[in-house]
């Protein structure tokens, strides 16, 4: 606990949150280097940067979760040293975490009081806790049921609880860490309204994101971070292209050059596919879909609408309740994962660390992770190390995988190179269908371009490519057709140039017609609608 700081009320001009010269190293890696940042009450300050640029590290320092190696944090004119989140909270800093810091099996009220429970003699006074929740939710217009269990609440409401939790501690400076990743466009609008009203009440808001559009919509000031250092500051008027250049460091083309596609026969056909989650809720609900050879079909949708389960059900790691999956006319839904791979199904999982590779295995081993048991890599029960290594040398060259050696553990590679290992493994065999889930998540921009090119090349080879993405920019860049998924169903299939507004409405559950009616666009504008 830091001693009580002298009240800064006499010098209101001093009221601000100031980070200066923050440096943080993890071993040889410099996550933050000499970062300066200032936040005043009544403003929204955007912190923009790519995945891995060091935004979260900086915010974890500000919130007391990490201690800086150099630099200073000054709150309202008083220099502070935070040894833990409690210090930061006491200094008036609150955080809305990207991965909600809520205990699933606790109620809303229990989560809100955790850490400073009301009551006497160690016994909790829950009635008082409930009253406090109700008061706060009325004060800020964020209604929640204090007795609901977190695990039973939808994501948007969980985020509301997370915000209320920060406000309950009388935070004057609020950090929102990538808050939009899990929300529908409409929910994002709602969140922005909340952020604005907080600003108007005189709170200082830091909004962390890597999405340019959101920054321009809401920021009063923008600080761009690249490779752990401040790459520039900007106002809300700055163009997207210029912001992107600051963020990435060089000019970026946000589009992928690709030829008009020539769709062939249907190579992947899903009918009536239904999958049920462990808690009994239906993740994929009686879904029908066809993907043709030589086309890229993108499934757009907000995270948590069954896309992840659909992808895993396709490769066979998630149980299918009913329905059929056909690859090139063969029914594969009773196949094991191994048999599906042999049938020509390629798969790039959404979470590569979790499902895509074995971190402690070498690059060479991961490149044969799904073919190690077959010739030429194996002879009977024995592995053929020489062949495995020569294959690795070829793939590393072909896919430009940056690694010190083919014996390096994949866990030691950068996100982009890890993804290249996964893609190299899948694309180095003859495929009928490629399912790629969030293929560029957490990947640096240079690698994104490369990965997109390889996906398009695979399409041009006549493979049916199914891409699942929550990034509308990626969908727009890659798709030949876009299917929008909501609560386990495809609500409609539209052309690649459909407006963001229409897609947004569909992602919230509207049908194509409804979406276009309320978005007030004519069918001509959205050419190529397929339903």
């Amino acid at each position: 606990m830091t001693p009580d700081a002298p009240e800064a009320a006499d010098s209101r001009a001093d009221e601000s949150l100031r980070l200066s010269g923050i440096t943080k190293r993890f071993g040889s890696l410099v996550a933050n280097s000499g970062i300066d940042l200032e936040l005043r009450p009544g403003e929204i300050h955007c912190l923009l940067g790519e995945n891995g640029a060091g935004k979260s590290t900086l915010m974890n320092i500000l919130y007391g979760l990490l201690q800086p190696d150099e630099g200073q944090i000054v709150v309202d004119g008083v220099p502070r040293v935070f040894t833990g989140p409690r210090n930061a909270i006491d200094a008036g800093i609150g955080m809305v975490h990207q991965h909600f810091m809520l205990v699933d099996v606790f109620t809303v009220a229990e989560n809100m009081i955790l850490g400073r429970e009301p009551g006497t003699l160690g016994l909790i006074n829950l009635r008082q806790a409930r009253r406090r929740v109700t008061e706060l939710s009325q004060q800020y217009g964020l209604s929640v049921d204090p007795d609901a269990r977190i695990e039973n609440l939808p994501v948007g409401i969980q985020q509301r609880v997370e915000i209320l939790k920060a406000l309950a501690n009388d935070a004057r400076y609020l950090i929102f860490d990538e808050p939009t990743a899990v929300l529908t466009p409409q929910e994002i609008e709602e969140l922005m309204r909340v952020m604005r009203s907080l600003r108007d009440e005189g709170k200082g808001v830091i909004f962390i994101t890597h999405k340019l559009r959101e920054v321009r919509a809401i920021a009063d000031r923008i600080t761009v971070i690249r490779r752990g250092a401040v790459a520039g500051v900007a106002g809300p008027g700055e163009s997207e292209a210029s912001l992107a250049e600051k963020m990435v460091g060089h000019q970026v083309s946000l589009t992928v050059s690709k030829q008009q596609h020539e769709a062939g026969d249907v190579r992947l056909r899903l009918s009536g596919v239904t999958a049920v989650a462990a808690n009994g809720s239906v993740a994929v609900d009686d879904l029908d879909l066809e993907v043709r050879g030589g086309e890229i079909l993108c499934i757009a949708g907000v995270q948590g609408n069954g896309q992840s389960e659909l992808a895993a059900a396709l490769i066979g790691t998630y149980p299918l309740r009913s329905g059929t999956i056909m690859v090139d006319g063969r029914t594969v839904d009773r196949f094991t994962t191994k048999e599906r791979i042999d049938a020509g199904l390629g798969y790039v999982p959404e979470d590569r660390q979790h499902d895509g590779f074995v971190g402690s295995y070498s690059v060479a081993e991961n490149l044969v992770l799904n073919s190690y048991h077959k010739p030429p890599y194996a002879q009977g029960l024995a592995l053929r190390g020489g062949v495995i290594r020569s294959n690795a040398r070829d793939r590393v060259a072909e896919f430009d995988i940056r690694t010190t050696s083919i014996d390096t553990e994949v866990a030691a590679l950068s996100g982009g190179n890890q993804q290249k290992v996964v893609l190299a493994r899948e694309l180095s065999r003859e495929l009928a269908v490629l399912v790629a889930s969030q293929p560029t998540r957490g990947v640096d921009v240079g690698a994104i371009e490369f990965l997109h090119k390889r996906l398009v090349a695979e399409r041009d080879r006549g493979t049916a490519v199914l891409i699942i993405s929550t990034e509308l920019d990626e969908v727009a860049a890659l798709a030949d057709r876009v299917a929008v998924m909501f609560r386990g169903r495809i609500v409609g299939i539209v052309g690649p140039h459909t407006s963001r507004e229409v897609l947004g409405l569909m992602m919230a559950g509207a049908s194509v017609e409804e979406a276009m009616a309320s978005a007030d666009v004519t069918t001509e504008e959205t050419e190529g609608v397929v339903t």
């Binding site: 094991t336 994962t337 791979i341 499902d355 895509g356 074995v358 295995y361 992770l369 190690y372 592995l383």
Partner: protein
């Protein structure tokens, strides 16, 4: 595995042994009233207390060393003690590599001993064939008991730790019950003891020593496990499942099948330890007849052997020899003024230090630059 990390692990292990010996010495001094009495007048005549302590520690550790490796007989006694530890340790190590914690060596070894002993005394076959049949039966017994765990885990997700612990006690009770049945109980006896195993089913030993087939089997098993882990497709899948079961499943490996195979193999290896207990000659040249304590604590000792051996076959052999020597030395201490059970304390302390490399580097800061990794998965997940 690079050379420097080999060194780190060897140094950490040696440091762990030294630390354990030091703490063991303290325990011995503190627990001996005669020595402790001398500390009452420590400031008056410190020499007395120090001499008594030194004498106590010195004579105990000397007796231990002499008992373990002081003669050819002692050395072969150590190898014969090491054999079941290595075998069961390999079973635990193999499971560790596949991400499974096999606490069930005890039960698996018991079934190995039951099957092997029954063939040994209940069936009469010619030389060589008899011992082979008994051996295969024992391996089968352990494999079934281990496979049951794998099957339950693969089929229902039951946590192997709970299942193995519970099945240990089921096996213990089954053995106790069997020893009351006419098929197993020695005629004319009312206590729980079986007939003596035929000489045709007894492990051959080098004349005049305790170096017997069991130790050779242990070395062969270690070599086989090494090949399996490092050079075979099954080992590739097994380690992948252990390191990241999700990625392994996504790459088409069957986690369920691998789990079952691993537990069958682990059970077979522990079963071999049981076979060794049932068929290896004791000092008198005749195997110890089946009784309730036939396999001792081999299942739990195996966990310590696998840990100290870093779950690698060579390491397991070395750790097995170390603990085998400790056991033998402990038995040799009977005459000394310190009870041989001190070796149980030493063994547990060594493992505790090996399991927490961070503690060793904290106590011995010169090792700090070489932070060693723990040999087991950090997390177990809840036991359900």
């Amino acid at each position: 595995m690079t050379r420097s990390s080999w060194w780190t692990e060897i140094l950490t292990t040696i440091a762990a042994i030294v630390l354990a010996l030091i703490i063991g010495a303290v325990v011995m001094v503190v627990s001996d009233p005669d020595v402790l009495d001398k500390y009452a007048y420590f400031f008056y005549r410190p020499g007395d207390a120090l001499a008594a302590s030194g004498d106590k520690i010195g004579s105990a550790y000397f007796a231990l060393l002499k008992g373990a490796v002081g003669s050819w007989g002692a050395i072969t006694q150590s190898t014969s003690q090491a054999a079941p530890l290595i075998l069961a340790g390999l079973g635990v190590a193999l499971a560790f590599r596949a991400g499974l914690i096999n606490i069930g060596g005890q039960g698996q070894a018991i079934w190995g001993a039951i099957f092997a002993a029954y063939i040994g005394f209940g069936v009469h076959l010619p030389l060589v064939i008899h011992v082979l049949v008994a051996l295969i039966a024992g391996v089968l017994g352990g494999a079934i008991w281990g496979g049951l765990v794998g099957w339950l885990k693969a089929r229902t997700g039951a946590h192997e730790v709970i299942v193995t612990i519970m099945l240990n006690y089921v096996a213990i009770r089954m053995l106790a019950w069997l020893l009351t049945t006419p098929a197993f109980q020695r005629p004319g006896r009312t206590d729980s003891i079986s007939p003596i195993v035929d000489w045709t089913a007894t492990f051959a030993r080098l004349a005049g020593s305790q170096l017997h087939v069991g130790f050779v089997l242990a070395l062969l098993a270690a070599a086989a496990v090494w090949w399996l882990l490092e050079r075979s497709t099954l080992g590739f899948a097994l380690k992948a499942v252990g390191a990241n079961p999700h990625a392994a499943a996504t790459a088409g490996m069957s986690v369920a099948r691998t789990t079952i195979i691993v537990m069958v193999l682990a059970g077979a290896l522990a079963g071999l330890a049981g076979v060794d207990a049932a068929l290896a000659p004791s000092d008198s040249g005749v195997p110890v007849p089946l009784s309730n304590g036939i396999v001792g604590d081999v299942g739990f000792d195996a966990v310590t052997v696998a840990l100290v051996g870093r779950s690698r076959p060579v390491g397991v052999v070395l750790a097995g020899l170390l603990f085998g020597a400790l056991h033998t030395g402990g038995l040799g201490m009977q005459g000394a003024q310190t009870p041989g059970t001190v070796t149980d304390v030493l063994q547990a302390l060594i493992v505790l230090f090996v399991a927490a490399p961070a503690l060793v580097t904290r106590l011995l800061p010169f090792l700090r630059r070489r932070a060693a990794r723990s040999a087991t998965p950090e997390s177990t997940g809840a036991l359900t």
